[in-house]
Symmetry: C2
Subunit: 366 residues, 2 copies
């Protein structure tokens, strides 16, 4: 797969575009004035794999809080700005690593110029973030949404809006720009990003906006981002879920891992079970997965991590064991343990998790 | 998107291939001799959207149970056969709508002939289902997995195995064949199906095998199946999760809905919330989603169902309200209610769910 060629921007130490690895973002949902809550949430998101975290900055005080959270956590932070250019300036001043701001919404060319200058002086990039739900009135009208008509923004409207905002910045000589064009369903999201990808060389921030609660939101985001990334489109991603940001990070990381675009981490191959299964594969697989995530975060990051399989029976079990470093294959109340494809011991079900973990710790040199 | 052109097979009343809508499958994990448990599980899966359900048939008694479950539920059932051709014959006799069987594994050409004849006589199609974990020894050896070497089957090996099984059936004049070539990770799964798609006109059953526990399994399946379906590949799908089959069905249905390949059902657009949010969007969105699924299953199937949005604030709220039939937009402890884009009332948070549901029931004529 050939990735689309883009200019590179830097959010703190994280490169976006220019061939850099695709990064994972999320957004805090805590009170923007509650420093302790934000530090805690930013840290837990980073621990789970978030490379960049966004905080809303609805007022100038929140910008100062953002600066303190940045210094406390060391995590690159994006200030989310709507309408008020003073919040943008205050965020740059306070140490934000990037802004998310649509320059057409901040009150005219003078303010755009002022923000662009301040951002450029500090090397702070700007993401232009267009959503189907917040397009300019004239664009809505042009694409048939005037008056009382029901209106789901077509991809062309999202792209036109984004490029208009981008032009306002580029006219000021500001070029450190990423773009997002998020619709709330998969087909419009795909079409908008594909269209945009051919019209500029800015790195693209992918997402399905307002994707929904955990299960539908995870599926919609995985389908849309999976398709776009597999086409070489996309430089950073944010999964939007009506759920905690930690969940968004987990899903975002899994999307990249699934495509081989990130360190695979603790990949557990585990079977769905069927009427043949006589061991508690659900419990054992869940416990192994959770324990491996903990070991990985403590010790494994960036190093090759053993691949583990938890299988229910002999139909695919020994074959998947051969593809894994450590594997369990369920029998009647017992599990056969495989180490690099070889059957090395048989343990009662109650000891299966420990048997895997001991061998994984060995592989990791713990 | 142009779908790959395939021959059509029929599993009970459900067409697969030949341009038919992509169907959703799952597999029971109850004791294959426990008729009551199977009837209950098959029924709940069908209720959630499964078009076809598979049951393992490890012995001849289980075939008789399958027949009774089929008659009790009316749901098309596939008998999963490994190694024992007598189970295949007994399943056909008992009323299975299809077999999942790899003819190279059932003990020689006489048995293949007998099964193919019996299946043909009753109009029962066969899925050849190849997994990375259960390839023939000679194919494993050919592709470098002989002896103790660690071995993850390459896509070419999966396809070679599948076509060998298919040839055994076609040599008997049997052509009602679907094929799956499932690997346990996304890149190999994509490559195997893309390769196979160019080599035959059989309908394809898509899946990532042993995809893992709920979150990674959902992401891997959504990414892989989303990409293949968007390329026009795939005629029926099964999401494999180390979790209950009802969850597999939910994810499978959402994958198809997300791509516009199935009745969209109760699509809830809901925002992830941020530091600006002052209403409990998580709870309200989850309750609305769950209630809409119930209303949909009771009343809405096959009819246009209202699109609902649950938004946290005024940034994207009114815009998404315009794209929805009924919408909530959160304020400070209250929600504004929109009906077809117009603000019609403002309710306290405690009444928000009821306010949406009353209007949805109105739309559905309940």
């Amino acid at each position: 797969m050939v990735r689309r060629s883009t200019r590179e921007i830097k959010v703190g130490g994280v490169a976006i575009g220019g061939g850099a690895p695709v990064s994972v973002q999320t957004m805090c949902n805590r009170d923007p004035h509650d420093e302790a809550a934000l530090v805690s949430q930013v840290s837990s998101c980073a621990e789970l794999g978030a490379d960049i975290v966004r905080l809303t900055v609805p007022d100038v005080e929140a910008a100062a809080v953002l600066g303190r959270v940045r210094r406390a956590t060391g995590v690159p932070l994006v200030a989310d700005i709507h309408f008020d250019w003073r919040c943008a300036l205050a965020s740059i001043e306070a140490g934000a690593d990037a802004l998310r701001l649509n320059p057409g919404n901040i009150g005219g060319p003078e303010r755009v110029r002022e923000v662009a200058r301040a951002a450029k002086a500090k090397g702070v990039p700007i993401r232009v973030g267009v959503n189907g739900g917040s397009l300019e009135r004239d664009i809505v009208a042009k694409y048939g949404g005037g008056g009382d008509a029901k209106f789901a923004a077509p991809p062309e409207a999202l792209v036109e809006s984004a490029l208009r905002h981008v032009a306002l910045l580029e006219n000021e000589g500001f070029r450190d720009i990423a773009i997002s064009v998020k619709a709330s369903d998969v087909p419009r999201t795909l079409a908008a990003y594909r269209l945009l990808a051919g019209k500029c060389d800015c790195p693209l921030h992918l997402g399905v906006t307002e994707a929904g609660t955990f299960v539908p939101g995870t599926v919609r985001s995985s389908v849309a981002l999976g398709i776009l990334l597999s086409e070489g489109i996309g430089d950073t991603i944010r999964v939007s879920l009506t759920d905690e940001p930690e969940k968004e990070v987990q899903v975002g990381v899994e999307i990249l891992r699934s495509l081989g675009m990130r360190d695979p981490g603790p990949h557990v191959t585990s079977c769905p079970t069927c009427g043949r299964t006589k061991a508690d594969v659900f419990r054992v697989a869940a416990e192994v997965q959770a324990a491996l995530e903990r070991i990985y975060r403590r010790a494994g990051k960036g190093r090759p991590f053993p691949r583990v399989a938890v299988m229910g029976c002999v139909v695919n079990g020994p074959g998947e064991a051969k593809a894994a470093d450590i594997a369990l294959c369920g029998g009647d109340g017992v599990f056969l343990v495989y180490d690099h494809g070889r059957h090395v011991e048989t343990v009662p079900e109650s000891r299966a998790v420990d048997a895997v973990l001991a061998r994984v710790r060995g592989c990791c040199g713990e």
